[in-house]
Symmetry: C2
Subunit: 337 residues, 2 copies
Amino acid sequence: MPNSDSSIDLQKLAESIKTFDGTSRKGPIASVSEIFKDVADAYGGCIADFGDDAAAIDIGNGDVILFAADGIWGRLIEKSPWWAGFTSVIVNVNDIAAMGGRPLAMVDVVSSTDSETFKEIFKGMAEGIKKFGVPVVGGHTHPEGEKSLSVAIIGIAKKEHIIRSDSAKPGDVVIYAIDLDGRTGPNSPYSFESVSAKTPEEIRKMYEAPQIIGQRQLATAGKDISNPGVIGTLGMLCETSGVGAQIRPADIVRPKSSENSEITIEKWCLMHPGTGFVWTAKPENAEECIRVLEEGGMTAAVCGEMTADRKVTIEDGNETAVVFDFEKDKITGIQKI
Amino acid sequence: MPNSDSSIDLQKLAESIKTFDGTSRKGPIASVSEIFKDVADAYGGCIADFGDDAAAIDIGNGDVILFAADGIWGRLIEKSPWWAGFTSVIVNVNDIAAMGGRPLAMVDVVSSTDSETFKEIFKGMAEGIKKFGVPVVGGHTHPEGEKSLSVAIIGIAKKEHIIRSDSAKPGDVVIYAIDLDGRTGPNSPYSFESVSAKTPEEIRKMYEAPQIIGQRQLATAGKDISNPGVIGTLGMLCETSGVGAQIRPADIVRPKSSENSEITIEKWCLMHPGTGFVWTAKPENAEECIRVLEEGGMTAAVCGEMTADRKVTIEDGNETAVVFDFEKDKITGIQKI
């Protein structure tokens, strides 16, 4: 249930989201996609790539293979190799879920000079594999170099069922769906962890919901919430879709204040929930979309609308503040104009 | 054409292959596969995984998705980020080729604190993409940490056409097929680079040959030659297949001594050719297998036979020396018994 809070300083909140480290880290993506653009366009049946959570490769029989990779910050591996391994599974599965796909398998590349780190990373990954039911089927280990962990994942979906990031339209509603049954993560004040205490059955039921959204074509676009947080992630979706959004922060689903008293709206907007998605939907599909997500175990609610003006603004009924203005701001820099 | 050289010290050669850094680096693979074994077996339609060049995931329509990952040694990125990027494409494409598959797409995870390194890595990858016609469709960049580069690749093949590493049988012949039209790589005395001067058409024709081998079921097993070199890589194939091999080093295809006078048999056995494969085949299929590979532009020849004794030995007609004895030695430690 959304909490109401009338004392938000909108200008300050807008500024903190825009300048947040988790958002500014997304900067290099545009220069990468620029270098690959001329060569990438020439080959293959790729129907979604940079700017989306996973690339979608048309294999010609009505199915697409979804393909994504994520690296884990070196500082998280230093703090806890087990959590780094466990988290690497979550973030990869989320990339496939956000596209409405079913995850199939993962591969990893791990570097470390000490065997204890390898062991802890792999134990964390093994726990993630058990929880999510997605196997690690291969990879590469480097017995030298600074600690690093990269994981890639593949998934599958029907071509007409995938949920892209670049297809939101003005007039769509914005729905956040987050598993609120969690707590601030043990290794970062900006992470919110909700899966480690759940059973594999609960987790798999929860992750079937986005597949149902895709199969029933209930969303016009979607993205899993990552380092930029709830509004920063929506910003990336707006940027690639070439549209804007007007959001009521008080209506963004967040943990009940009684149980997580330290999580203010301001802080929540910068947090990275373990299981959280932002969807856009035609207004007439919003109710069914929310029902499917809540039946899976997430909390979901409409908190705003997509607009034509390529600005992400936040409002409280009295005033508004601009978070991103894509006429001049960039998150990933990948724009559809 | 194989060169003849009667002055090989077999014992010394056997020892140098066995103790080679490129071979001993493969050690951690077994402990990885051990940790994942109980969880990996439980899920998914994976029909080949650890110990193979790529995992093969059955998607149920007669096709399998091939999935592999490779990391590039940090020291190569330090020496030349461009070559690291270029090489990352080659090693990944080789993993799919070794399975008889057609590569579809790659994703990458790259770390560096300086934008010049990013740019050079991506330029090298872009050149590889052009040469091999396989796009990079996504990934993740870390603007912090030690320089690292991980790339994952997917490919596709018919289920009955894939060439595994664990299916060689005693009595099969051993065929090496290597593109000898190259030179010692610019960044390591143990690399032999042959693709940078070739046209995309030449490269794609060469890489169609393993797909034809798969489609005509000409090989019983196969592997791309990697860091352990020609005999070390065969050792890995023997280890996972639970068999042995007897090899005549003088019959292993290698560069003509007039053009590459510094490449002795001893050195060649430790080198990592950019494009090189070891195949095993039923004796009656050897001729056609070699013809297909040579039509693609590689040089190929039979140089030994698979045996039942789980030892890899080298011989020159007079004496023999044991390189690996899998009753007590391990390369990856992944054994089929």
